[in-house]
């Protein structure tokens, strides 16, 4: 009889070679083929909508921009106003819908993967196969994570194109790419937020073990993180600039704006501010503006993309660790 509890180095060579990644990826693909088809259909419709609406918006904008070039003046300001009136609400609504994409990735792609396996008992099948737990789980998470992140990256390109007339360097541009929502939807941030949502979902799934509660938890956690970032975190990536002239570089992200009176105290009455603004020059009154200049856009994108990527990898590592130690 073999002595127990003795680690025998000679036994190492009985370790079989691992099952190749190619085969594990096939398994991952086969299990999510249906959900992938659903996701592709949804995203396809969304992309088609952005494309068609984008062509209309850009067509209308081209006409307005031509007007501004050929006959600058009052008539064109009116044309711009009319254009914004016709299309800005549609564009803004589309942006809000797009913001739901990462949330859906977390809820419908990330959360169910392990929650369903644990809830339905199929983990007893999956985790007792020759390939073990770690590599198949990694393959199952990596495939949807990578495809969703790539899809999100493509969508933020599409959105940038679609929304261009409102960001454009024209007078009275409606939106700044640095504004909280648009910053999230453009650059690399959107792909990073999608990956993070997926990773949050996956971890929620293995922790909660039941699909619907895990989906709800993933949605809550991701929304909370996004809100905290928009409201508190992002503005601190770099120390903001302050100006006393009321003039900021175009498309800057204005964080706060206030007036001080001749005595140096902050003007709190709205009527007083209106009076200052209407009174032409306002000796003794100073307009303070704290802002992030638009030139920092890519720097901020890299910071946000970087920490979200690090967080996602950490969450996926935690998920794998939970799978490894999860006992029946």
């Amino acid at each position: 009889m073999i002595t127990l509890n003795t680690p025998a180095p000679a036994r190492r060579d009985t370790t079989p070679p691992p099952v190749p990644w190619r085969r594990l990826t096939w398994v991952s693909w086969r299990q999510y083929r249906m959900s992938a088809a659903g996701a592709a259909a949804f995203l396809g419709v969304l992309a088609l909508y952005l494309l068609i609406m984008g062509l209309r918006i850009r067509g209308a904008y081209a006409a307005v921009a031509d007007c501004s070039l050929s006959a600058p003046g009052k008539r064109c300001v009116g044309a711009f106003l009319l254009f914004d009136n016709d299309y800005f609400l549609i564009a803004e609504t589309s942006a809000a819908v797009l913001l739901a994409v990462p949330a859906l990735a977390g809820v419908f792609a990330g959360a169910p993967i392990l929650a369903r396996e644990l809830d339905s008992g199929t983990f007893r099948f999956a985790w007792t196969q020759g390939a073990g737990r770690t590599r198949p789980t990694l393959a199952r998470l990596a495939l949807p994570a990578l495809t969703l992140t790539a899809a999100a990256a493509a969508f933020s390109q599409l959105f940038g194109w679609f929304f261009y007339p409102f960001f454009a360097g024209r007078e009275f541009a409606q939106a700044s790419a640095f504004a909280p929502i648009y910053f999230t939807l453009t650059g690399i941030a959107f792909a990073a937020w999608t990956l993070t949502a997926f990773a949050i979902g996956a971890l929620a799934g293995v922790l909660i073990r039941r699909a619907v509660p895990a989906m709800a938890a993933a949605l809550a956690a991701w929304s909370g993180l996004l809100l905290a970032t928009l409201l508190f975190l992002r503005r601190h990536y770099e120390a903001p600039l302050t100006t006393r002239t009321g003039q900021t570089s175009p498309s800057s992200w204005v964080i706060s704006n206030w007036w001080t009176g001749p005595n140096g105290h902050r003007v709190t009455s709205e009527n007083q501010i209106i009076a200052i603004l209407n009174g032409g020059p306002h000796p003794g009154y100073t307009q303070w503006t704290i802002y992030q200049p638009a030139t920092r856009y890519w720097h901020f994108q890299l910071i946000e993309g970087g920490w979200l990527l690090a967080l996602s990898l950490l969450l996926i590592a935690a998920t794998i660790w939970m799978v490894r130690r999860r006992a029946a």
């Binding site: 009889m1 099952v19 086969r30 339905s120 007893r124 020759g130 029946a328």
Partner: protein, 305 residues
Amino acid sequence: MNVIETSGLGKRYGSTWALRNFTVAVPAGHVAALVGPNGAGKTTLLNLAVGLARPTAGAVNVLGGEPAGSPAALDGIAFVAQDAPLYKNLPAADMLQLTGNLNRRFDHGYAQERLAELGIPLKRRAGKLSGGQQAQLALTLALARRPRLLVLDEPLANLDPLARHDFMGMVLAAAAEDGMSVVLSSHVLAELERVADYLILVSGGRVQVAGEVDELLARHRVLTGPAAEAGRIAQRLSVVHARRAEAQAHLLVRTGGPGDPVPPGWEAHPVSVEELVLAYLREPGAAALPGPARTQKAEPTEVSR
């Protein structure tokens, strides 16, 4: 070689010990049945052996010394869990492909042949198959891996008698062909008689009886005689369980072998697996272990009819 070997094994869920100080060795080349009342720790033991659970105390080694759950152990053991979990939305053909891709070895030819024999349509989703067919599919997937050890947790629970017969027939055929060892837990005692040649009786998280079925049967017998003398006989012999019907008493006793003398006025009958198991299940205090039997000299309770 022992296919499962535990020493001082303990598993605690919360504050309850499902298994405690559990030591057993299941030799290779057997169809070993794990029998015991609900909550005895059978499923816990199997989960530990296939690496789904980790021991709280002690160790489980499988396949002659591989730690449970190690790559070599996972490679050599196929497990069919209770209720045969399968991906219900996948067709049978895809379950084959999937299992093939999750293992280094997979005998596609064998699997397809078995499913054809069983009349399981390859295109039908696993969830749409009958309970018996799902169990058959899960077993086919396990056997096509050509495991050295097949572990089955309550494989017969939801099957009708015919499906039970076919299921165990397939297990026995594979065991005879490949020299594969089998460890299964079951409540279905009648079926065990036909298939198991090694018996492990678990009760209250410890081993009560373990040994080859033939040997266990040879070392036990039923004595039938006048009820009035039952008490006197019980003092001289190692009685596992006594049952009194009218004026007659039936004593299931341990013996040295068939040659042991029978008390005058009593009749000796060979014991069946079912009788043996039931007797021990009714007497959780009694134990018959291989080697020097650890017999507790507790007075057996009498069950009157």
